[in-house]
């Protein structure tokens, strides 16, 4: 089966410092890759290269489809509510929540769309916060809004930069389980985090950056 993402001979240089080189990796169905390393080792740079936001200094990245990317700044507009943010992100990435038959009237489609977004927000524990502007949510709640995208139809490959930041213990455990379940259902995840993952799917691997190329 074709891997979702294949990278070969990757190298990245920032401000004259070589972060990594000769890096090759391949991610297919069921794989989870945790990128680890000390601060400044180039974890975020690697993820940005893999997501297609940044060109590598050398090497190639080949993706079968654009991945779902959640970065440090997760794309949540403060002046919009949680629901408006998610509706926009879904439309932008051409993923339709709540699939309805094409013959259904437009109003029915919109209702299903809304229901799917509300369902995703309930999954991340934000029931009752659907129409609150995001600037009045806490940091952890904002992170939850961004992560609600993982409960909506999304590409198979997820690239997540520090997804556990600002989450409480329960939410961390829930997200770990969700990521593992995604991998078991044929998805793939690349993530950076400093904590030890409690749930690891069979396809788990770890990539340590920093030190090796110094």
């Amino acid at each position: 089966m074709n891997p979702y993402l294949q990278a070969s001979a990757l190298a990245c240089e920032r401000d004259g410092r070589l972060l990594f080189e000769h890096l090759a990796l391949s991610l297919g169905a069921g794989d989870m890759l945790q990128v680890s390393g000390p601060n400044g080792a180039g974890k975020t740079s690697l993820l940005r290269v893999l997501a297609g936001l940044m060109a590598p200094t050398a090497g190639h990245v080949r993706c079968t489809a654009k991945p779902l990317w959640v970065g440090h700044a997760a794309g949540i507009q403060e002046r919009l509510s949680a629901e408006e943010n998610l509706a926009w992100l879904c439309a932008l990435h051409a993923t339709a929540p709540g699939k309805v038959p094409a013959t259904a009237p437009a109003t029915e489609g919109r209702a299903a769309y809304r229901a799917a977004i509300w369902q995703a927000l309930a999954e991340v524990g934000l029931r009752g916060f659907e129409d609150v502007p995001c600037h009045s949510l806490s940091a952890g709640q904002k992170r939850r809004v961004a992560l609600a995208r993982l409960y909506l139809p999304a590409p198979r490959l997820w690239v997540l930069d520090e997804p556990f930041t600002a989450l409480d213990i329960q939410a961390v455990a829930q997200l770990e389980a969700h990521l593992a379940a995604h991998c078991e259902q044929g998805g793939a995840v690349v993530l950076t985090t400093h904590h030890l993952l409690g749930r690891r799917p069979p396809g788990f691997a770890e990539l340590a950056l920093g030190g090796a190329t110094a």
Binding site: W69, G71, A73, I76, Q77, E84, A91, L92, A94
Partner: protein
């Protein structure tokens, strides 16, 4: 296309939730124009003679002022990264975004201009030309300015650099726009100037979105 409808909804909501961003350039435009009669004294002939250039320079600066924050909040909260990664063509998304911005800020400026023109003593027959020239010229100003805004969005204090980058590009629009008004003031036909402005507008509509998208990709990759 549903993504354009959603983009439209999003931009309109964002602008309506921070009306100051729209209002400030308008007030700036009105105040700058109002300063000149105070500085030059009550000389109707002089004011009328300088009115075309004055209205155009003030409009140009007001558009520039309104564009500084065009991509700023999207850049800071990561929305731009999401747009760059979207399967939708970035240039088209940006064209829609700039046009929504123009509809709210540029169009208001165009509608305010005749009032300020009358204040400077422009004869009423010149007002249609004033309106037409601004209507064709301000979208060009917005689109060109958005290229500069896209390139400077990653910089901490990009405001002055934006002005330095973009103001030279505004010169043709300024010459044609104030030229049209000058011609109308002297009773000469101004159609030629307006057609030139229209062709600049068509050119900017077609090409500027590509440059904006390229500029944003560079800024996001930094």
């Amino acid at each position: 296309m549903s993504v354009l409808a959603e983009l439209l909804k999003r931009e309109v909501r964002l602008l309506c939730r921070r009306p100051g961003e729209l209002l400030n350039p308008l007030v700036f435009f009105a105040i700058v124009v109002a300063l000149f009669p105070l500085a030059l004294g009550a000389q109707p002939q002089l004011l009328q003679a300088v009115a075309p250039g004055l209205v155009w320079v003030a409009a140009l600066l007001a558009v520039l002022l309104s564009l500084e924050g065009l991509f700023r909040s999207d850049f800071e909260d990561g929305s731009l990264e999401q747009m760059v990664l979207s399967p939708q063509p970035l240039a088209l998304l940006m064209l829609a975004k700039v046009l929504v911005h123009w509809l709210f800020s540029g169009l208001a400026l165009v509608l305010l201009a005749p009032l300020l023109g009358v204040m400077l003593g422009l004869p009423l027959v010149c007002l249609p030309v004033l309106l037409a020239s601004l209507l064709l010229g301000t979208p060009v100003l917005s689109l060109l300015g958005a290229i500069g805004a896209a390139l400077t969005v990653g910089l901490k204090r990009g405001g002055l650099l934006l002005a330095l980058l973009v103001l030279p590009l505004y010169i043709p629009v300024l010459i044609l726009g104030s030229g049209a008004l000058q011609a109308a003031l002297q009773g000469l036909p101004s159609g030629g100037y307006l057609l030139w402005l229209a062709s600049l507008a068509a050119l900017a509509l077609a090409l500027a979105p590509l440059a904006i998208a390229a500029g944003l990709r560079i800024s996001v990759a930094e």
